[in-house]
Subunit: 213 residues, 2 copies
DNA sequence: TAGATTGTTAATCGATTAACAATC
DNA sequence: TAGATTGTTAATCGATTAACAATC
């Protein structure tokens, strides 16, 4: 029986992968148990915050000892949906698309990019990291047949909305967007923007402040 | 005279690029003025939130009319440090590194990747998007001579800390990290993580919840 | 036992949202 | 003028942090 997933903040969700990476590293080193205090120290977080984050995954610890690392890893992966592989389609075989196709670690995070699509006839038919590039027109039919839930958008901004509409029409439920464009999606579809420019904005604003001093 | 940069939240900093993209799009369409209400509608934000965000950039609007789009663009760019180009070094000429080197839009955001470095001798000497790949050993000397402030890390996790130490030792003030590794940096250096796995975590957790229904 | 750590409740802090007067 | 929008202050909401009893 699966426990009711409670409301969890975006902030917590973004910290969980950090804990996961650390735990896997420590397990490689033979560590068996770890306390919230230790995890908190590693990231300069508040120990109570770490404890609450872990609590949302349903993990249970032991006083004086902490949490079993192996259990934590399983709990976090379960909670993030990284325990079962999700098949995904990627659209846009440009630089970003290629980088994503070549990113081996996605498998570890339950993401399996099974095919790439492009509207450019010159790219269609080529293979990138062992996946054939297919014509965009084939996406709807294939997505339905293969029960694809995740669509990755790696096209230029001006084509992004069109691609998303195609994906949504094909029954795709979650969009991971790498295009710097605001996208419209219908109710019930999940949109997650992986916008590099937001991260860059934080960096350059901070840098400007430091340099101004 | 430059106004004292007040404390600004990370959330605000991340919304500003969204406004900027929208404003540039609207200006292309000939729009001259825009109200917070309109911007808010576009992103499903609260109008007051948009107003406060714009306020932090120092922009001033006019009752009944709104803000001049052209002025807003300038103010936001100034505030984010996107008005002056920052030269940057990139380390790691793998897939992610290549994608970043090929990302034309960075110039618009004041980021100018002037050189790429790699420790792999087979990559050294090749050219990627018109930048020569240099041996990593040359970074310290060049960074000092060229007054480079920004270092982009696009190497595998296990090499990331070493690269960062090298960069910091070479006087680089801000690190943009694409490696899935927790990095240690000394006081005064800025670290911004562009972690794809965090974004993926939010996506898959939400998807899992939806699919479970 | 002693004391570190969990689990949990309460206090604080900061960001978001609401309310409203001033203004064009 | 009338009314939409700015600018600003106050209220709300949620996340972070503090406090502390229970536990191993």
């Amino acid at each position: 029986m699966i426990s009711q997933p409670r409301v969890v903040s975006r902030s917590t969700l973004k910290r969980l992968p950090l804990y996961l990476h650390l735990l896997e590293k420590l397990m490689d080193q033979g560590v068996e148990n770890i306390s919230c205090t230790q995890i908190a120290q590693e990231f300069d977080f508040d120990p109570t915050q770490v404890r609450k984050d872990l609590e949302t995954t349903g993990a249970v610890g032991t006083a004086r000892i902490g949490f079993r690392a192996a259990t934590l890893v399983v709990k976090i992966k379960e909670f993030l949906g990284w325990d079962n592989a999700h098949d995904a389609f990627l659209v846009g075989a440009g630089n970003m698309g290629k980088a994503l196709l070549g990113y081996k670690d996605f498998e570890k995070y339950g993401l399996n990019i099974v095919a790439a699509f492009d509207k450019d006839a010159r790219k269609v038919g080529t293979r990138i990291f062992n996946r054939e590039v297919l014509p965009l027109a084939k996406l709807p039919n294939l997505a339905g047949r293969m029960h694809i839930n995740i669509g990755i958008v790696a096209v230029p901004a001006e084509y992004a909305q069109g691609v998303v509409d195609l994906m949504v029409g094909a029954g795709i439920r979650a969009i991971w967007n790498f295009a710097p464009a605001p996208l419209r999606i219908p109710e019930g579809v999940i949109l997650e923007n992986a916008r590099l420019t937001q991260s860059l904005a934080v960096l350059t604003n901070n840098l400007t402040k430091v340099l101004r001093k």
